[in-house]
């Protein structure tokens, strides 16, 4: 059988961001996929040379357009560890609340895009309609829909008033109800299952060996979630990772769907345990010489920050490893053997965030 080479991306209707895959195809069956990255490299890590360590928070938020809060939390945690700053308990809980709101809206966005990838456009609209309520919560409580910009080194710079907390609780109740109404369609619908069940299977061993992260890993049956480390306020919350075992696109979408509901639950728990107190600790001086690794759980998986300080206000090195970077080798393992028509669904099932990956 002759081999045909089909370029997939960087501009493709299903891809929100540019990644190129060279697909070697034999009679509609993909035999090999070769990725090419580098279309949206912005050099954000290098900005650590000219922006001081406080200003880098705003830069780190812009690594990802969806989970900005979680990047900022990861970076702040690193600097706080380096400078031995103790974050007030209230600030930690507020960070959890906004992080989980980000996770749930990221998952809702992805569920919509995933529905669109297999051509279920009305489901896409329904998910995005639900997501709007969470965006409104972000906007009302922080001042911006996506780049919430509430983190500072040592805490947060926005607070939730009792009125806002009551409003958030009533809104997330509606969100939960509306998300549950879509559960049957995304998990049990015949057409959806025909496109997702058994497509792009990644075995548990492969997922672990290839270093998959986040829902891609948990969809293959490995219970690994950075929130289990209990960073920030997560130690005080009742948390258990969501795991599915079939390792296909259906499992990955189900993990994300259940995590959306779990995030809403975590927001409720965090609000119930929100202590009174300071919002931010005083931070003096510059990060000392030394290096630190921090890990947090992003909607897409484990995100690692390496920070090296040199005693000045500029950092020596900032290195960001995002979950999509870890999920590209598993993606390349999923593709061989699938049909060409399933490629968009499989590519989207890892929730590719290419801007994150290239920073």
């Amino acid at each position: 059988m002759a081999t045909t080479v089909i370029p997939f991306g960087p501009q493709h209707p299903v891809l929100p961001e540019p990644v190129h895959l060279t697909l070697k195809v034999e009679d509609e069956i993909v035999k090999e996929a070769i990725p090419a990255l580098g279309y949206v490299h912005r050099g954000l890590e290098k900005l650590a040379d000219i922006r001081d360590y406080h200003q880098m928070i705003q830069v780190c938020e812009r690594v990802c357009g969806i989970c900005s809060m979680i990047h900022a939390v990861c970076y702040s945690q690193g600097i706080e560890e380096l400078m031995e700053v103790e974050v007030p308990k209230r600030a930690e809980m507020l960070r959890v609340i906004w992080s989980e709101l980000h996770r749930s809206h990221s998952h809702l966005l992805w569920l919509g895009l995933f529905a669109d990838a297999f051509g279920f456009e009305s489901l896409f609209m329904q998910f995005w309609k639900v997501r709007e309520r969470i965006m409104d919560i972000n906007e009302a409580t922080t001042g911006s829909r996506v780049i919430v910009s509430v983190n500072v080194i040592g805490g947060v710079r926005a607070d939730l008033s009792p009125d806002q907390i009551r409003w958030i609780l009533s809104e997330i109740d509606i969100v939960e109800k509306e998300v549950r109404a879509l559960q049957d369609t995304i998990m049990n619908d015949y057409t959806v299952k025909a496109r997702t069940v058994g497509v792009g299977v990644l075995s548990k061993e492969d997922a672990y060996l290839l270093g998959a992260a986040g829902p891609t890993l948990r969809g293959s049956g490995v219970a690994q979630d950075m929130r289990m480390l209990g960073y920030g306020g997560y130690a005080e919350l009742d948390f258990e990772p969501v795991v599915e075992t079939s390792g296909d696109c259906w499992a990955r979408s189900t993990v994300r769907f259940r995590e959306t509901l779990q995030s809403i639950d975590l927001v409720r728990q965090a609000i119930a345990k929100l202590p009174e107190g300071e919002l931010a600790a005083k931070v003096k001086g510059n990060p000392p010489e030394g290096e630190v690794y921090t890990r947090v759980e992003q909607p897409r998986g484990e995100c690692v920050y390496y920070i090296k300080g040199n005693g000045t206000k500029h950092l020596d090195r900032l290195r960001i490893r995002t979950p999509t970077f870890a999920n590209i080798p598993p993606l390349l393992a999923m593709l061989p053997g699938c049909e060409l028509a399933d490629v968009p669904v499989i590519v989207l099932s890892i929730d590719p965030c290419i801007s994150c990956t290239e920073r």
Partner: protein, 167 residues
């Protein structure tokens, strides 16, 4: 037949979205929109310029000039939060799309060289300006404040147009 109830429900229900240009949602009160300065309360300390992560603000203490490139601004609100006299504010709506590049240049009175007399005055004014929190209340006040201050346009003569329109 299975879909009939859903179809009928959808025909009778209101649309899920707003009819946008005709119905516009009320902005949230602390939305981080367009940045503006109450130049009379400014003491030209330069804190905003130093703290700004996108380095879009320049402060000239000698001449009493405050310059901001609104296209480089990332609307984080750090300058507003760190301003010692609370003379920076953000509107609760974002800037309208523009066809030309502008620079916001505001000219105020530079602080006197020996400043014990000038400083308490500026501070008192600053706390006054900080009190009204909602955008609608703050806007007319700055309109008043801006009027006496001389405005210098850097590149385009219509630099203030979008602001003027909104008021």
């Amino acid at each position: 037949m299975l879909f009939t109830p859903t179809v009928i429900k959808n025909l009778l229900k209101k649309p899920a979205t707003r009819l946008y240009p005709f119905t516009v949602r009320e902005p949230f009160p602390n939305y981080r929109g367009e940045l503006y300065i109450d130049i009379d309360a400014c003491i030209f300390c330069g804190t905003c310029a130093r703290k700004c992560p996108s380095q879009c603000i320049e402060v000239d203490k000698e001449q009493g000039l405050w310059t901001c490139n609104p296209h480089a601004c990332v609307y984080c609100g750090i300058c507003r939060d760190t301003c010692p006299t609370k003379c920076l504010h953000m509107k609760d709506v974002h800037r309208k799309p523009m066809t030309e590049r502008i620079m916001m240049v505001e000219k105020g009175e530079p602080p006197k060289k020996k400043k014990p007399a000038a400083k308490p005055e500026a501070k008192a004014e600053g706390t006054e300006a900080a009190e009204p929190k909602s955008g609608s209340a703050a806007a007319p006040e700055t309109a008043k404040a801006e009027a006496p201050a001389e405005k210098v346009e850097a590149k385009k003569p219509d630099a203030k147009k979008p602001e003027a329109k909104k008021k």
